[in-house]
């Protein structure tokens, strides 16, 4: 009797063991698939042979020339300038958007006023339109404001990336909602103004969501290529990084620039990836609300 039980235990254990092994193997295969394209672009960025189409996975020779060319060959596609443009645009976009998003979120979470519900409904309805449906209209409005030519293009892009950010308040509002209201009330009884409760109580308690907001708004100009394309048109002096990289894959450039594209892709992915992985905790917390009870 006891021997039989031991057998069953043993076989169950063995079965469990095989299941475990199989699961780990599957996970390994999946992880491999997920990492493969990233690994491949890193390899390509160090590849010595030119051109976009190769027949071997691993390069035949390794070189740093692609990175060097990216920063020195500024005659056709001026990558350093694109990088500078995008950086400046991203900083301003980030400041304006963060202020807008936090302001709106605070009002929606803490203040009670007549237009509050209406504002939230309008924001939801606006969210249902394709985001770039009115890109042509935006272009004409910028043109009417004399912001569509020459050195005004960066300003136009900053406006485009940050002006509408007031509708993206849901995540931050959800976070503010989790901060106990009693803190505000106590401060107000002590004679604090609303402005003081906002800047001295809510903001210091909201680090995760502030980091999350700053990060997402800082990244937007690096990732967008739709509005940048419509607003920059052919004026390559004001290209952003994503437009430049997109350009490198055009038929006329791809043969000479494909490996440089990979190098550029790695260069902008690395900081974004590091930022993201460091703040992943904030990202998840921001979505679920950190300060509870």
């Amino acid at each position: 009797m006891s021997k039989k039980k031991k057998d069953i235990d043993g076989s169950a254990k063995a079965r469990k063991h095989t299941v475990n092994v199989i699961i780990h193997v599957i996970l390994a295969i999946l992880a491999f698939i997920w990492v493969l394209p990233i690994f491949w672009v890193i390899l390509t960025s160090f590849r010595a042979e030119k051109g976009s189409y190769v027949t071997t996975f691993f390069p035949k020779g390794y070189t740093l020339d692609n990175y060097i060319k990216l920063f020195t060959d500024t005659s056709i596609l001026n990558f350093p300038r694109m990088f500078k443009n995008t950086f400046v645009i991203a900083i301003f976009t980030c400041i304006i958007s963060t202020i807008f998003v936090l302001s709106v979120s605070y009002c929606m979470s803490r203040m009670r006023f007549k237009m509050r519900k209406a504002y939230m409904n309008i924001a939801m309805v606006l969210g249902l339109f394709p985001s770039f449906m009115s890109m042509v209209a935006v272009y004409y409005i910028l043109k009417a404001l004399n912001l569509s030519e020459g050195s005004m293009i960066p300003i136009a892009l900053i406006i485009v990336f940050s002006a509408g950010s007031g509708v993206n308040f849901y995540v931050a509002k959800g976070f503010f909602d989790t901060i106990p209201k009693s803190l505000d009330e106590a401060a107000i009884i002590d004679g604090a103004t609303r402005w003081q409760t906002f800047t001295r109580i809510t903001i210091p308690l909201s680090k995760p969501i502030i980091v999350y907001t700053i990060l997402t708004s800082f990244m937007a100009p690096w990732l967008d290529f739709i509005f940048a394309k419509v607003i920059c048109r052919a004026d390559s002096r004001y290209f952003t990084v994503s437009m430049g990289l997109w350009r490198m894959l055009d038929k006329e450039y791809i043969n000479n620039w494909y490996t440089c594209f990979a190098a550029g892709a790695v260069l902008i992915s690395v900081p974004i990836a590091i930022l993201f992985l460091c703040t992943q905790k904030f990202y998840v917390e921001g979505m679920s609300g950190a300060v509870k009870g």
């Binding site: 475990n20 699961i23 780990h24 996970l27 992880a31 698939i33 997920w34 990492v35 394209p37 990233i38 672009v41 189409y53 190769v54 027949t55 071997t56 202020i99 807008f100 302001s103 709106v104 605070y106 009002c107 009670r112 939801m124 606006l126 249902l128 339109f129 394709p130 985001s131 449906m133 009115s134 042509v136 209209a137 004409y140 409005i141 009417a144 406006i159 485009v160 002006a163 509408g164 950010s165 007031g166 509708v167 103004t193 402005w195 990244m219 990732l223 290529f225 739709i226 994503s242 997109w246 894959l249 594209f261 892709a265 974004i272 990836a273 993201f276 992985l277 992943q280 998840v284 679920s288």
Partner: protein
Amino acid sequence: MKKKADAKKKKGKEFQTPYTVTNAVKEGDVFTKISLLIMGFGNMAHKQIGKGLVFLAVELGYIWYMISSGFHALAMLPSLGWREQEKVWNDKKMIYEYTAGDQSQLLLLYGVATLFITFLFIIVWREAVKSSYKSEVLAKEGIHLNTFKEDFKSLFDQNLHKLLLAGPVMGILIFTILPLLYNISMAFTNYGKLNEHLILFDWVGLDNFKKVLNMGDSIGKQFYSVLGWTLIWAVLATVLNYIFGMILAIVINRKETKGKAFWRFCFVLSIAVPQFVSLLIMRTMLQPTGIVNSILERYGIINSALPFFTNAMWARVTVIVINLWVGIPYTLLQVTGILQNIPAELYEAAKIDGANAVQAFFKITLPYMLFVMTPYLITQFTGNVNNFNVIYLLSAGAPVQTGLTAGRTDLLVTWLYKLTVDFQYFNLGAVIGIMTFVVLAIVALVTYRNTASYKDEEGFM
């Protein structure tokens, strides 16, 4: 249900004041009545000089705008202009000179903007009348009226929302709502490359909508096929991402799985790489002469290149599979936290009752997750309907039948983009945008109303 209605009534009353425009007209004194014409007059009469001057300045600004350009813009709105650009012989200079013709898209923009500004002005006007009436009533009752300084101070306290919302609302009004109205109005014109209506165009009423919705028309046929594929895509992309992402999260979260953090890192890494980078790389990898095909050919697995983006069926499966690569890590990130929140007792009780892992998944995990994450799923669905990046960067809508504007993998949004940017059919693009909105609005309304978490916020447990 009745309780809800009561609550609603109460809410409406919360912000009610006796200081309305109707009351001001009926019961206001001379000063208030004058402020119907001269904004801010009532305020100034009751010593609120600063506030009154602000209202007056708004009115003068509006009048100046209307005289200098507003009336002209409104007058041109019905016709949208008719003068073509012409060559005129200038006898004095002995050259041909071009006379400036009308540019319909600018006239339309100015017209819509003027209507928009007028609408905003009416709102300010109502505020001014109410404010005058309020100052009159308060002055009569001998209650202290806020000075300009006190009004300014209140912006940092009980009126903080006015201060904080001013910037964001201006941004949304000028760069989101105004362009949207302008764009929607394009849907009712013949603005487009068709018959050379790029500079001068006219109102055509509902013609564009008839064209798009008409099965017999070429554009109409494309519309229904694109709409069908958009819905299939959105459902498959949302559901598959969710299910596979959840299974992956459960597998990684198992007690027996070793190196949880490492596995999570591998998958999350793909979020950290900008989407347009990873998708453009995938596209070059999957080209007929790309790395995937050439390696498969070299090892003799296939004889000719796999038609990843040249065969309609292949292209559709390819974009869905690659979207799994893009989307599963997001689901993983979202689900992991929620999975850990499911009370462990539920699983223990199920185990005692003799349920196996699969049963536990379908009876406990799935219902719980669906309950918590329905809003997330709806946003995912709308996000997928509007998923421009994945389609445009991967297949760009290919394969496209010659003579048509929409490809077999085109979504409504990518078609909209092509119609406006590549083909310059601005009017049709606007119609497609409106139709996308209609589809999303219907889906959002129906699902929100029918979800458990909407009906009963604490129903689960």
